[in-house]
């Protein structure tokens, strides 16, 4: 971040081409605000009235862009929440004409759709984090159900003809002053979203889209993060819907329809799904142009389709990505003052782990076949065994990656069988994967921040600036062990070499200060010198934390250097356990490795 900010400084000082000033994060919303302010004066009330409609659509589009461009799942049915917001607001405003107390219920028009979105997303995402495309189709089907309901339930919704005669928002006039309410909401949602993206939560969203599993292994309940984000985006759509009801005075089932859902997606794509302002302007420009040109130019919508295809194919971040390099920009977060990170929640001294007759199978293949072992207290242990022995699978079954068919796993006397990845992480279990797993699009320093926040970041703090400056003594010590990382804090983690990525993931695994560390071939792909260095680092770090570690390792000289007990796995069972010399003398182990018998 240091380097990026340094690069930014001269740009601020030399305001030249307007495109340049877009690179300042606040410049876009400021220009946008000025434009909104000027619009009714440079044009007329009628144009402002029409633009307001597309600002309203733009707010809903921002919700779609948040889920799609930030969190990486595409909602195909945001019209459901738009329509719900519109019907609820319309109904409440009509009721308030008779009984003003109903005005107090107006927030429900936002909260109920958000609650529905939260519930649906929790239910779906809790089942699997690979449910992305299915989730899209579920939201689509939900919208179509909503459309049917709106059409059929005519006593409430007015059926096909819609709910008409919705009064204006008190204090505003539909064709003049209501514009200001819409403009304020559009500017507010843009500023809010831009702001959140520059807070820890925004960084977690980006990390989630890039590598959800890694985030879970740090103890983040990603299904909840996604559900909250989805609820928030649904609330934006519902706000837009409520404004729509006040703006149009009539709500028809089309506000809940498939077509509107698809238009949100198209506007978000063309404008730029990674940028809140881009998405909003996409809706305003494409939407307004469509409404103006649709009737004069028969091929207009064909052209929109072609543009949409071209954007999907060539411009993943839409026109905003083309104009202002927003995606790279938004990953950047402001620098905060260095403060010591709060302590990790104290966990019981010592650590014990026990596998008891653990069985796991997938696709009809038995992977673990009654694996039983235990370890007590801090220190390093190695896990060895031929390919297919079940080493990585033993880790997988502990962190919810493989189903547990039978048996029990105990951590400090508590039954943790079948616990999910994030629950295990919160129990103080850290894991490094076999293929180094980092957040490739984030900088090294941001990768480290996310690891440091694990177990420390309370929900409220994820919206504050302070965690961006958190530091811990361990962070400094670990970076001192790997000076190459310290020199590349501003570089994207995806640009690191294999060895550096191994080092980064190791440092990240240790930062939440786990009690038990599962290291899966931490020396894979490293040179002998690097291997030696890594082993020293593992010893130093686990010693510093008083943690226990299980290290999967193939290289016997590395096993010797690590020291400690060695567990030999074979065909999903524990074959032998003891010091390396004992293991090497064990006839059963020799038979497995030398192939005397299978």
């Amino acid at each position: 971040m240091d380097s990026l900010d340094a690069v930014d400084a001269p740009r601020v000082a030399v305001p030249q081409a307007p495109t340049r000033s877009w690179r300042r994060p606040a410049a876009g919303p400021c220009l946008f605000g000025a434009g909104l302010l000027a619009l009714p004066f440079v044009s007329n009330d009628f144009v402002a009235y029409q633009i307001a409609l597309f600002l309203i659509y733009g707010i809903a589009t921002q919700g779609v862009a948040l889920c799609w461009g930030r969190l990486g799942f595409l909602p195909l049915g945001h019209a459901l929440f738009f329509g719900l917001g519109a019907y609820l607001a319309g109904g409440l405003l009509k009721a308030a004409q008779q009984q003003p107390a109903w005005f107090a219920a107006l927030p429900l028009a936002l909260l109920l759709p958000a609650a529905l979105a939260y519930g649906a997303a929790r239910l779906v995402f809790a089942r699997s984090h690979r449910s992305g495309p299915f989730f899209s189709l579920i939201t689509l089907a939900m919208t179509m159900l909503g459309f049917l309901a709106a059409q059929q339930w005519s006593t409430v919704t007015g059926g096909f003809n819609g709910m008409a005669d919705i009064p204006e928002l008190p204090g505003t006039e539909r064709y003049s002053t209501f514009y200001w309410a819409v403009a304020a909401c559009a500017l507010g949602s843009t500023l809010l979203l831009t702001g959140v993206l520059r807070r820890p939560l925004g960084l977690l969203w980006s990390a989630l889209a890039q590598n959800e599993e890694r985030l879970q292994l740090f103890g983040y309940a990603t299904d909840r993060i996604k559900a909250v984000a989805f609820a928030f985006s649904a609330m934006l759509a519902a706000l837009a819907g409520a404004l729509f009801a006040m703006h149009q005075g009539i709500v028809t089932p089309l506000t809940m329809g498939f077509v509107l859902s698809t238009e949100f997606v198209i506007w978000a794509a063309v404008g730029g799904k990674a940028s809140p302002l881009g998405a909003l302007l996409g809706a305003v420009f494409v939407g307004y142009a469509s409404s103006e040109l649709r009737d004069h130019f028969a091929y207009w919508e064909v052209m929109v389709g072609v543009i949409f295809i071209a954007v999907v194919r060539f411009l993943p971040d839409g026109l905003a990505g083309l104009g202002g390099r927003f995606s790279a920009r938004a990953e950047e977060v402001p620098q905060a003052h260095k403060t010591p990170a709060p302590d990790v929640k104290a966990q019981g001294a010592g650590v014990s782990l026990a596998f008891e007759q653990v069985e796991s199978a997938q696709g009809g293949v038995r992977i673990l076949d009654g694996l039983t072992f235990e370890l007590q207290g801090p220190g390093l242990r190695c896990v060895i065994g031929p390919n297919g022995a079940g080493k990585t699978s033993a880790f997988n079954v502990m962190t919810g990656r493989l189903p547990l068919r039978a048996g029990r796993i105990w951590l400090d006397g508590a039954d943790v069988s079948g616990a999910s990845a994030w629950r295990m992480a919160r129990q103080g279990v850290g894991r490094k994967l076999q293929i180094p797993s980092v957040f490739p699009g984030l900088s090294v320093s941001q990768n480290l921040d996310i690891a440091l926040w694990a177990g420390r970041l309370r929900p409220a703090a994820s919206l504050q600036k302070a965690p961006l400056g958190w530091d811990s003594a361990l962070r400094g010590e670990l970076l001192a062990l790997f000076p190459a990382l310290g020199k590349q804090l501003g570089a994207a983690a995806g640009s690191l070499s294999q060895g550096e990525r191994q080092a980064l993931e190791f440092v990240m695994t240790m930062l939440p200060q786990p009690r038990l560390v599962l290291l899966d071939e931490p020396c894979a792909g490293l040179s002998p010198a690097e291997t030696h260095h890594m082993i020293e680092a593992i010893k130093t770090a686990t010693g510093r934390l008083g943690a226990a570690a299980l290290v999967i390792e193939h290289d016997i000289s590395a096993v010797a250097a690590i020291g400690g007990d060695v567990y030999v796995l074979h065909q999903g069972k524990l074959l032998a356990r003891g010091r390396l010399a004992q293991i090497q003398a064990d006839p059963a182990v020799r038979a497995v490795y030398a192939g005397a018998r299978k």
Binding site: P133, L137, M144, E301
Partner: protein, 284 residues
């Protein structure tokens, strides 16, 4: 009473046959290639318009079939080559790109032929007496044709060398390549087969439906639901999906009305997507 039962069974068979016909193309493209082709319905629509065009030219209706297959095949080849192939690794983008394609196809047809409904004048619907029930001959022919087409496709998939290579490609594309299978060409051919099937379905259905540029969406969604419920890439899944979706829709519709039938299908699909995303007979 006996005959009303027969009529009911025929209607059900007809509903399943049309659903199966329109789903077949997507079953190939989505089920085998994993491409969520959102323009599937528009290829069906093109097939239906081929009949409209042929009729307006005064040609015999039968010529619509080769025309539709040619148009869909050429278009499908171009789409696979320049739109889908660069996006195979990006499923969301494939979905969106084909969605854009659907929009372009729909709006182009709308711009050229207008939004209005078209009907096909055909003499094919002369009723046939079947054990005391008068049933339109064309519908009977369609049911038979759907069965024949599905058997052919099953034989192609299970018995032909191309079917074998396709199965190899879907099972393990890298290994298939290592064994000398040109998966790029094969994927292209498979895609073309899928959209040609969609176009052919459009031609066959043209005399029975009201034709307008927007009909594609319904076919697309029904097909998606069939594949979601049944599971991808297996014949059992295809059959099961057609049975469950088509059966539910026509049974519930006949009892509680068309909207309820559709609502039940939607709810069923949501439940499957949520609880059993690999469907009844999923490959994975």
């Amino acid at each position: 009473m006996d005959t009303s039962w027969l009529l009911y069974a025929l209607n059900l068979a007809y509903a399943l046959a049309t659903l199966g016909l329109t789903t077949l193309g997507l079953a190939v493209v989505f089920g085998l290639l994993g491409v969520m082709n959102m323009a599937h319905g528009e290829f069906v629509m093109l097939g239906a318009y081929a009949v409209v065009i042929v009729q307006s030219w005064g040609w015999p209706i039968a010529t619509a079939m080769p025309l539709a297959m040619l148009v869909c095949g050429v278009l499908g080849y171009a789409v696979e080559r320049w739109l889908i192939r660069p996006l195979y690794a990006r499923p969301f983008d494939t979905l969106l790109a084909t969605w854009g394609l659907a929009m372009v196809m729909r709006k182009t047809v709308e711009a050229v032929y207008g939004r209005g409904y078209r009907n096909i004048e055909s003499t094919l619907s002369a009723p046939i007496d079947l054990g005391g029930v008068q049933y339109p001959g064309y519908r009977l022919a369609l049911i038979a044709l759907a069965v024949v087409l599905m058997v052919c496709l099953a034989l192609w998939y299970r018995r032909s060398t191309m079917g074998l290579r396709v199965r190899a490609m879907t099972g393990n594309p890298v290994l298939a390549q290592a064994l000398g299978i040109d998966t790029r060409r094969l994927a292209s051919q498979t895609f073309v087969i899928g959209v040609v099937l969609a176009g052919a379905a459009g031609v066959l259905l043209a005399p029975l439906v009201r034709i307008e540029p927007g009909i594609g969406v319904d076919y697309l969604l029904d097909s998606f639901f069939v594949l979601v419920v049944g599971g991808l890439g297996t014949l059992g899944g295809f059959g099961g999906g057609v049975g469950v979706i088509g059966g539910t829709q026509s049974v519930v519709s006949s009892i509680a009305g068309q909207t309820s039938g559709y609502a039940v299908v939607l709810i069923l699909s949501i439940l499957f997507l949520w609880l059993k995303p690999n469907g009844l007979f999923g490959r994975r």
